[in-house]
């Protein structure tokens, strides 16, 4: 969810916006693709940890630290999913015929309404595909999550981490089951994404 909203928002900004620092923003938002997940997790841990300004602010507002909680797992998974949503959303938004947006502008629609009633609806298939891809990525994240949220069964243990645990513990049946679930979800998402991007043309 977090990654969907942020990804589509940033995607729109990067597709339409012409502002200084655009290249830097794009590079930073794409970092999670190339960084080793544990490195990403390490930096998140440093930025959001109990001793960092951000971490402290969170603790003051919410009352508990962010790292090593389910919230932390969500943030870590979202950050690693963000570039996938962002890139797909951006491509979808850029593929909308700019003349349609122009004629909507000429008809008196404000920039907000052009975005909400023209650009985003026309890009919707690509946006859904991006969100699905991001969801699958977030579900499958291991490295970043384990660094930020730890591995506390029932609280911050995500499925990929549970697979790892089960194998380590020699519980082959459990590992096979979890792996099967994750595998099926991944395949389903890919099929859905392919369908969407094909019929979008």
């Amino acid at each position: 969810m977090l990654a969907s909203v942020a990804g589509i928002g940033l995607g729109y900004l990067l597709a339409k916006g012409r502002f200084p620092g655009r290249g830097v923003l794009e590079a930073v938002a794409s970092l999670p693709i190339v960084l080793p997940p544990t490195v990403l997790g390490y930096y998140l841990l440093v930025t959001l940890g109990a001793r960092s300004p951000l971490g402290r602010a969170w603790e003051q507002v919410v009352g508990s630290p962010l790292v090593f909680t389910a919230g932390g797992a969500v943030v870590a998974a979202s950050i690693s999913a963000l570039p996938f949503v962002l890139r797909t959303a951006r491509a979808a938004i850029e593929s909308v015929d700019p003349r349609l947006e122009q004629s909507a502008r000429a008809a008196g629609l404000s920039e907000w309404r052009v975005a909400a009633q023209v650009t985003l609806p026309l890009a919707r298939r690509g946006l859904v595909a991006g969100v699905a891809l991001g969801f699958a990525r977030a579900l499958g994240d291991f490295g970043a999550t384990v660094m930020v949220a730890g591995n506390i069964p029932g609280r911050t243990q995500t499925m990929p981490i549970a697979v790892y645990d089960a194998v380590q513990a020699g519980d082959d049946e459990r590992a096979a089951l979890l792996a099967l679930v994750l595998g099926v979800v991944a395949v389903l998402v890919l099929v859905a994404v392919n369908r969407l991007s094909r019929s979008a043309v």
Partner: protein
């Protein structure tokens, strides 16, 4: 009487045009070879392009003057635009397309006005249709209704009939003539079709590649 004054240099990529003319209520045809910069001129008047020099004025209000940093956004210029291929929003119904352009009133009132405009262009039966199902002529009728629904001060037509077959073109020429006369709008009509120029123009602005060369007034012609 309301007047549009254009004296601008507009550039987009490799193409540049220096356009100078004025227009009054009625149809001013911008005529000349393709690539001469007619559509660029229209885009600058619509506010979709910023001219690099000069100014555009409507009734004493400056719409664009790059030297003074003036650029009134398209939304506030009160223009209605029709392009060659209509450019209706494919994901909304015909009625929605027209209603989106109505600027005042509640949602219900806007839809009511949109219906009235569709009826005016003989497209009342298409209200619930999807724009992708329309024929070329139907699409342009709806596009005309949408362009006029916002009570524009300027109606900008960029080769609106050139994709249509001859009988449809002739019917729509008559419709454009009637709509402009009824609303008293200043219409700029980009065309390189001799029949269109001859039949529609109250004033002709002649283009050569890259610039306007002459403006011809045509005397009020009898009823057609």
């Amino acid at each position: 009487m309301s007047t549009l004054t254009v004296d601008v240099v507009v550039r987009a990529g490799e193409t540049q045009v220096a356009a100078a003319f004025w227009a009054a209520p009625g149809i001013t045809v911008l005529s000349g070879p393709s690539g001469a910069g007619k559509s660029l001129t229209l885009a600058a008047v619509a506010g979709l392009l910023r001219p690099v020099a000069g100014r555009i004025e409507l009734d004493g209000t400056v719409l664009a003057a790059p030297a003074a940093g003036v650029h009134v956004p398209t939304q506030q210029r009160r223009v209605g635009v029709v392009f060659q291929d209509g450019l209706l929003l494919p994901h909304r119904s015909v009625l929605d397309n027209v209603a989106l352009a109505v600027r005042t009133g509640s949602r219900a009132e806007r839809r009511e006005q949109a219906r009235a405009w569709l009826a005016r262009v003989d497209a009342a039966g298409l209200a619930d249709a999807r724009p992708t199902r329309l024929s070329g002529g139907e699409r342009q009728r709806v596009a005309l209704a949408r362009a006029l629904a916002g009570a524009p001060r300027l109606l900008l037509l960029d080769e609106p009939l050139s994709a249509l077959d001859a009988p449809t073109r002739s019917r729509l020429r008559r419709l454009v003539r009637d709509l402009v006369d009824e609303t008293g709008v200043i219409a700029l009509f980009v065309s390189h079709d001799a029949t269109e120029v001859d039949e529609l123009a109250d004033r002709i602005v002649r283009y050569e590649p890259g610039r306007t060369v002459a403006t011809e007034e045509r005397q009020a012609r009898g009823s057609r």
